[in-house]
């Protein structure tokens, strides 16, 4: 378990100023504030290699801190870097995405995290997770990214539009398209399991 922030969190703009001046502790606090969200986003976008990607995103963020306007919120700036970085990685790999939870280690982690006492329910959840993973894998990153930002990270449409440099209408259309793809992929699962 990595170090967490203890005590009151200092003002974010103050942390950024300190980090810009080369204060490692301040930069560490910023990382600790956002690492779980960035890690989650990377994991859902890329699957394996999410930790390395998250680290690279924070490094890029640090190098770009000089250009950051401290009067603006930090998360759109950080997620913009994350979004572009994940798209670059996917482009380099030449595939849409790698299926999530492909290796045994990840599968074990998920099993530990689940607390369903009913074996049937456990199986259903595992099947649903598999179906969601497959749906995400087959979905274009252009739909997956805004879908994760909106539904998982709770980022507003306006902020997603800023992150992706797109009009709000296009962002909405992409999220709707992503939901439709998810729904189509999961329909067979819902029908089999009786809705």
């Amino acid at each position: 378990m990595a170090t967490q922030i203890t005590g009151p969190i200092p003002d974010l703009s103050e942390l950024i100023k300190r980090a810009c001046a080369g204060d490692g502790d301040a930069f560490g606090m910023i990382i600790n504030l956002y690492r779980q969200r960035i890690m989650g986003y990377c994991y859902k976008m890329l699957g394996a290699g999410a930790e390395d990607a998250a680290q690279e995103i924070f490094i890029k963020f640090y190098l770009a801190l000089d250009r950051f306007d401290i009067s603006k919120p930090i998360s759109p700036f950080l997620f913009r870097i994350a979004h572009n970085h994940c798209l670059d990685i996917l482009k380099k790999k030449g595939i849409r995405t790698k299926s999530l939870n492909t290796d045994a280690e990840d599968e074990q982690e998920i099993r530990i995290a689940d607390d369903g006492p009913n074996p049937e329910e456990f199986m259903q959840k595992a099947e649903l997770r598999g179906a969601v993973n497959r749906a995400l894998s087959e979905m274009s990153a252009l739909y997956r990214s805004p879908l994760i930002m909106w539904h998982v990270e709770g980022i507003s449409y306006k902020e997603i539009a800023e992150i992706m440099v797109l009009p709000i209408g296009t962002v909405k259309a992409r999220i709707h398209r992503g939901r439709n793809i998810l729904q189509q992929k999961l329909m067979s699962f819902v029908n089999t399991n009786g809705g």
Partner: protein, 193 residues
């Protein structure tokens, strides 16, 4: 089924949290009657719930410290690269400037050679002229010196006013001839008619 498209839009509005209470009531009523739409909504909601609740692996214990270390190293490397790039740019500008100068020299070499040759010729002619002028001035100087000596001897030995006047007149005439190359009368009349 044909009327279901309207409710699909309402489903998106519901998930966007933009649905009005009236639209919500209409959607709920439709879903209670249409198993297909109910299945679709169930599929989307369960998928999104799973996506949100999907466990994410915890970053390693050294994640933060390693990231800080790598970020600082990256910043130093970036500064070095920028410095190198600045030097390279300066060197490139220098090379381009020298190339332009060299290119111009090659193009304008015949013109420059001709101009230099002309300049040397003009200077040598000027030098000849100055030498000739110097000789002339020396001759005039010796003549004047001799004349002055003669006049001095006459004046000192004879002290004859008539002779002094005559000698002065001769000198003035002589000077007038040398300086203007015109008739002696001009000097006597002060150049006025």
């Amino acid at each position: 089924m044909t009327g279901c498209n309207e409710y699909k839009e309402l489903m998106h509005k519901l998930l966007d949290r933009e649905i009005s209470p009236r639209e919500r009531a209409r959607l709920e009523q439709h879903i209670s009657l249409c198993s297909n739409c109910a299945g679709e909504l169930k599929a989307i909601e369960s998928g999104l719930d799973m996506l949100t609740a999907m466990p994410v692996p915890e970053p390693g214990a050294e994640f933060t410290s390693e990231t800080i270390k790598k970020a600082f190293m990256a910043k130093k490397a970036l500064a070095r690269r920028q410095k190198t790039a600045s030097w390279c740019m300066s060197a490139l500008i220098g090379i381009i400037s020298l190339s332009i100068i060299a290119g111009c020299s090659l193009v304008f070499q015949p013109v420059m050679e001709w101009a230099l040759l002309k300049a040397v010729q003009v200077l040598s002619q000027l030098s000849i002229l100055l030498t000739a002028l110097n000789k002339t001035v020396s001759v005039i100087n010796s003549i004047l010196w001799t004349l002055g000596s003669v006049i001095y001897k006459i004046v000192c030995s004879e002290c004859n006013p008539g002779l002094i006047f005559l000698a002065s007149l001769l000198v003035m005439v002589f000077l007038n001839v040398i300086s203007r190359g015109k008739s002696p009368g001009i000097l006597l009349t002060g150049g006025k008619k």
